[in-house]
Symmetry: C2
Subunit: 160 residues, 2 copies
């Protein structure tokens, strides 16, 4: 691994760490309440399983990113890290997709199933969720790039 | 690549192909209708963006699996295939998660958002979706195993 390549992957991991931390913080601080027909309803992330899954995975990915920032770049670690990068990338793509699917119903509703959009009532909550998903999406894309870059380095560069 | 290793990956790809084809067929043949308060409502996969995304990705993954079954095992191809395997695995994990998140709301609803479960009314539709998701999940797991196995072969086996 050249010096530049090390700096590049370090930066990608640092940005991914920032993305996951932002995603977790923005999501867990999201709450809002609305009064509809004299019933107060409170929106918070923990009411939706997909958002809880999102927070858990982003937290794991954040902790993993932090760990790998300070790992020695010995070959043994570097190769194990590629395998773990695959796992983290798959988990990130999974959690962002689940959360996005639910956020889409929250914003647009689904006529056919009779699910009404809720973002008109709890705008603050939806803004937080949107911000959190954006940060999580950036982290997922960074991990995907990191993985492709690692594979590109490990596999024969001439063939790619 | 040894003979056994070739047979093993061929079998994994064949099973993954079967899984994706089953997921697509079962999902697109799912429809049911119910009468609630004199209103007939029809459930089909194309009413839900997450299910449409699921069908598209499963179809792409199926086509890719079919192609790779008959690819020559020359090194150039083998290494490109690993990169594409990463992309397909990430896409599969993404589509299954999005579809699962919506299916979960369909089955259990979400009190807090006022979304009622619909599976009681359109049981046939929900059974199809469940079957399709199970097939898609199997395909995703097979691709994940295939990817880990390919990486295990390409990276130094002693280190894993």
């Amino acid at each position: 691994m050249t010096k530049y390549s090390k700096i590049f992957t370090f930066l990608l991991r640092l940005l991914a760490l920032a993305g996951t931390v932002a995603a977790v913080v923005v999501m867990i601080t999201s709450h809002d309440s609305a009064k509809v027909l004299n019933l107060t309803f409170t929106a918070k992330y923990s009411n939706t399983p997909a958002f809880k899954y999102f927070v858990i995975v982003e937290a794991i990915a954040g902790a993993y990113s932090l760990m790998t920032l300070f790992l020695s770049s010995k070959n043994l670690f570097r190769r194990l890290v590629i395998i773990l990068d695959v796992v983290v990338t798959v988990l990130l793509s999974s959690c962002i997709s689940a959360a996005l699917a639910i956020a889409d119903v929250g914003k647009k509703g689904n006529n056919h199933a009779g699910w009404l959009p809720v973002c008109g009532q709890v705008r603050k909550f939806c803004d937080h969720v949107t911000g959190s998903l954006a940060a999580g999406f950036v982290a997922a894309v960074l991990y995907f790039l990191l993985l492709l870059y690692s594979l590109y380095n490990v596999l024969d560069p001439l063939l790619l």
